[in-house]
């Protein structure tokens, strides 16, 4: 269970998050939507302790992570897997080394066992037989899949996705959406997807939170949000630019 209470965050004089509060139950799947630069990724990084808030609290399974130091946070992060917008693969490693990274660091397994788990996880993300490829040789969609395989190989309870379909063509985006659902259903994980891709938000989020003007502007089931008549929500969902931006 993830709970965020009155979260405030600014960078210098610029306030990014202003009193954000919400709760995500175990096994739930939530999409956080909002315009580019509205603070979605900043919010996501607070959930895993990559950023510390100016004030407010973040609780994971009832335990506050805000006052933890980096070493204490390492234990909490074992519950998480995170897929980055840029995939953030270790570029000096092969696909297999990237995917096996978490296992090698934290579990005492034989090389054969690690190879078996890597092959199984790559199979789950539709990349069988790519173990020996260098991460620099991969396409954008493949990089996202390897990033996902790396995040889920040690079977975390919560998976965070930061813009999982940004920069991908519609067909690859669709396959990534399906992968998010498959991982959620097979591994029974809590899923938090930050996106401004409406199709991804609708498919991956049982519940949708919309960030606007540094606050949670709207929240509801995906159907409620997409049927909303609110002008701000409608403008974002329909993708209509402000008149002054034309």
């Amino acid at each position: 269970m993830i709970e965020v209470r009155q979260l405030h965050k600014g960078f210098g004089a610029q306030e990014v998050l202003d009193g954000i509060s919400f709760r995500i139950e175990s096994g739930e799947s939530v999409a956080i939507i909002g315009r580019s630069g509205c603070g979605k990724s900043v919010l996501l990084k607070h959930l895993i302790g990559l950023l510390q808030p100016d004030s407010g609290d973040v609780l994971i399974d009832g335990e506050t992570i805000v006052r933890m130091n980096e070493r204490q946070l390492l234990w909490v992060r074992r519950k998480f897997g995170m897929v980055f917008q840029s995939a953030a693969l270790f570029d000096s490693m092969t696909v297999a080394e990237n995917v096996a990274f978490g296992l090698r660091r934290h579990e005492h397994l034989t090389e054969a066992e690690i190879a078996r788990r890597v092959a199984e996880t790559l199979d789950l993300v539709d990349l069988p037989g790519t173990e020996n490829k260098n991460s620099a040789e991969l396409s954008g969609g493949m990089r996202k899949r390897v990033g996902l395989a790396r995040a889920i190989i040690y079977e975390p309870q919560i998976v965070l996705y930061d813009e999982p379909t940004t920069g991908l063509d519609p067909i690859v985006s669709d396959s990534i959406d399906q992968l998010i659902l498959r991982v959620r259903d097979q591994l029974k994980v809590t899923t938090v997807v930050v996106t401004h891709d409406m199709r991804t938000a609708r498919r991956a989020g049982q519940r949708v939170l919309m960030l606007h003007n540094r606050k949670i502007y709207a929240t509801g089931t995906a159907d409620e949000i997409f049927a909303s008549r609110d002008a701000v929500v409608r403008q974002f969902i329909d993708g209509v630019a402000d008149a002054k931006e034309n």
Partner: protein
Amino acid sequence: MNPLANRQAQDTLTGLGQITLLARDAFASLCRLRVTWRDVLFQMYFIGVKSQLVVLVTGAFTGMVLGAQTYFQFHKVKMDTASLAVVGVSMCSELGPVLTALMVAGRVGGAMAAEIGTMRVTEQIDALRTLATHPVDYLVVPRLVAAHIVLPLLTVEAVVVGIGAGYLVGVYLLGIDATYLWYNMLRYTHDVDLVIGLIKAFIFGGIIALVGCHKGMTCGLGAQGVGRATMEAVVYASISILITNFFLTLVMGKLVGQL
């Protein structure tokens, strides 16, 4: 104090404080045995084996130049055969460790900052953290341990090559008597000179790794940030080595004098 100088002094003190905290974290990680020895071996290869050319060339030509210059002066007072003794003492306690460290700082310190800086701007360090891995355990400690081990070894290599090159120049180019040249070098170069050099090299190794890693981990965003971090890693490590060397010379000279 004008605002610019004030700001610079503040930045310098902040940087020193951050490096001190990084050293503390690395030491704590080392004490908890969180080191992956395979990573240490790879870093030893990168720092040691890959630095062979610069260390050999630096050691050889420093020994040759020092031998020739000493001979030109000593020849005036008929002390030709003491030339290699000067090379021996200088190479062991000063030139060997300092020049080796400066060359390694240029080659390795900059590379460390660039590699870690690129990892930072491409979110690879954040990825490490999400995989429950402390960046200090994975990135800093192996480099720090490897640099501490390798710098003294490279220094010994530079000293041996420097004295050998000085000997060859003295005997075959300047015509100094080989037996007395070698005998005087052994007579005036003491074990303690080499020990001083090795202690300095050990400390310089730590400076290079800590400054390189710190600059990488705190680098600004984008290509410009990585470029600046790389340049600062080389400059700050080199300046730190020269300043530290002066104080180490004073302290160890005093200690040796009292023994």
